[in-house]
């Protein structure tokens, strides 16, 4: 194995070697390329994205099937306010678990293995590392979830197509109907947002278990707690939570307890910026 058995000379030349070909160029491009390599070379990426995909489509289809099989039991009001778009995208509520885990792991797995110190020794500009991770993750997550949400929507609508409204119209809608495409794209955006919040939590807490628990507290437990508040606080608070803003962004038939889709989108953007800012702030101040 010893490929270097040249006998060392005791006398050393005084001049250290010049740094060879000091590289110039974009730090961001370099770190983005590096983070892309890291993301695609661990198995957790493939598994969590696969789970996100399967759950989004699978749960969406199951809910659509269940709804249509019990369609005749619904009241007239429920039938008329039924939102076939958002129902076909309900798999998102379980899929956020899988994509959230991937977001957390992107940072926390580097802490648990110790790799993060190698990473920061190679790139002392820690914010560039964090934001490069977020950008690479966001692109991969959005592409995956957009395809998954589109598939869930199309399968769901195909299932709904066999059922008719009391007006005689077909229950299913097409992608070109008002709000449908926007809902599909924003459902994927919501999933990506949950993943980025997970990534920020992974960076802040450094522990996989703690970050996942906190993320689930935010997206699953907080809505339950706020719904226990007296009216109108329950909906007033609940619609500004990430989950509430997410639902608003991919719902077509709006109710008063939801934000306007555009507002929901902006709230999600706000959460992402805040999460990344605070994670970046802490990252540069703490020891690695």
């Amino acid at each position: 194995m010893a490929t270097t058995t040249t006998t060392p000379t005791a006398e050393a030349p005084a001049t250290p070697p010049e740094p060879t070909g000091k590289p110039t160029g974009s730090l961001w491009r370099a770190v983005l390329a590096s983070e892309w390599t890291k993301l695609r070379t661990v198995r957790s990426t493939v598994w969590t994205l696969f789970a996100t995909f399967v759950v989004t489509i699978g749960i969406g289809s199951l809910i659509a099937l269940a709804r249509t099989s019990r369609w005749d039991n619904l009241s007239l009001h429920d039938k008329l306010t039924f939102d076939p778009t958002s129902f076909s995208l309900r798999g998102v509520f379980l899929a956020q678990l899988a994509i959230g885990v991937l977001g957390v792991l992107i940072v926390s797995s580097e802490y648990s293995s110790g790799m993060i110190r190698t990473t920061f020794a190679a790139v002392p500009q820690r914010r560039v590392v964090l934001y490069s991770k977020a950008i690479v993750f966001a692109i991969v997550a959005y592409v995956t979830t957009a395809i998954a949400c589109l598939a869930a929507f199309l399968i769901g609508q195909a299932i709904f197509a066999g059922t008719r409204l009391p007006t005689g119209a077909v229950l299913g809608v097409s992608l070109s109907s008002p709000g449908a495409l926007r809902s599909v794209l924003l459902a994927a955006f919501y999933l990506t947002v949950v993943g980025i919040i997970g990534l920020a939590l992974g960076s802040l807490l450094r522990r996989t278990a703690g970050a996942i628990a906190t993320l689930f507290g935010i997206v699953f437990v907080l809505p339950i707690l706020t719904s226990a508040l007296p009216s109108p606080w329950d909906t007033d608070v609940g619609k500004y939570l990430p989950s509430g803003a997410g639902v608003a962004s991919f719902t077509v038939k709006h109710t008063s307890d939801l934000l306007h889709p555009g507002a929901g989108f902006l709230v999600l953007v706000g959460y992402v910026l805040f999460a990344l800012w605070i994670a970046g702030f802490a990252l540069t101040r703490r020891d690695a």
Partner: protein, 306 residues
């Protein structure tokens, strides 16, 4: 060139590194010696900008590490060889690091070749032995062909062949004019690789200098054989040295071998043997760090000399 000035690092109530100043020069292997918990790793983390010093500063080639863009071209460091993600292949791990510093892909294969891991380049790191991990870590430090190299306890987990290999590698890197800074708690290892030493204990600097100087300055037993032993003994005692009889030889303490040789020559005394006792680095270490061992099991070792 690594330079620390008043480097101090406190973690809560623990003062890990206390007012440490040193200079590490290019072209030699400098050993960083101290008992476990002495602050060696903390010092290295501060050098790499991973930990922020509480007080003082440390620079590499005149600049703080963290100000560097693409630092792997100037500094390569291995703190913990097991700190890698096990699911990744060896070549993927190195390629990700290379990309972050704009190092070409061909270099990945070069460094794998250099450490003898070409055959397992496409294997997952999780399947590697301790020694292979260590070699992978060393490969990573060499990626940018840096002028400054730093290794924290690099021989841990290596087999004897690996240890010999690593000693040669360090000496060769130093001979190429690079700064090589190697920490260890094993004095015997340092005796074989390092030319200069920085000794710390409980975060304090205890000694620094050339290894020969340090060993002759302290411990320094010298075994002397001479047909005129009686006359020599008298002269040595006049020089304040301690002398004891050991069979046909005398053991001298408090005067180093060159001084004894010169003394003998000046008085026309014939010497048959003049041998500095080589275990002395270990004794030096104990003498130097005696008061500063963090975790101790047995009875106190002799306190260190002034």
């Amino acid at each position: 060139m690594i330079e620390a000035r008043g480097l101090t690092k406190r973690y809560g109530a623990t003062l890990a590194v206390d007012d440490l100043s040193f200079e590490i020069k290019p072209g030699t292997v400098t050993g960083f010696l101290g008992p476990n918990g002495a602050g060696k790793t903390t010092t290295m983390r501060c050098i790499l900008g991973l930990d922020h010093p509480t007080k003082g500063s440390v620079t590499v080639n005149g600049r703080p590490y963290a100000e560097r863009r693409f630092p792997l071209h100037e500094v390569g460091a291995l703190l913990d060889a097991s700190a890698v993600q096990p699911g990744r292949r060896a070549d993927q791990h190195l390629w990700a690091l290379a990309q972050s510093n704009r190092i070409p892909r061909t270099r990945v294969h070069e460094v794998l070749e250099l450490v003898g891991l070409t055959g397992v380049a496409r294997k997952r790191i999780g399947t590697f032995s301790l020694g292979m991990n260590q070699r992978l870590g060393i490969a990573a430090t060499l990626l940018g062909d840096p002028g400054v190299l730093m290794f924290d306890e690099p021989v841990n987990g290596l087999d004897p062949e690996g240890i010999v290999w690593i000693r040669h590698l360090f000496k060769r890197l130093a001979a190429e004019g690079r700064t090589v800074f190697v920490s260890s708690h094993l004095m015997s290892e340092m005796a074989l690789t390092a030319e200069n030493l920085i000794v710390i204990g409980r975060g304090h600097l205890i000694a620094q200098g050339a290894i020969d100087e340090l060993t002759s300055r302290t411990a320094g037993n010298v075994l002397v054989k001479s047909p005129q032993a009686e006359e020599l003994t008298r002269l040595l005692i006049d020089q304040q040295a301690k002398v004891e009889l050991d069979g046909s030889a005398i053991r001298v303490r408090g005067l180093n071998a060159p001084a004894i040789g010169e003394l003998a020559a000046a008085h026309g005394i014939v010497l048959h043997e003049l041998a500095p006792e080589l275990a002395s680095l270990e004794e030096t270490f104990f003498e130097l760090t005696g008061e500063s061992v963090e975790y101790r099991a047995d009875e106190p070792v002799p306190s260190r000399g002034a």
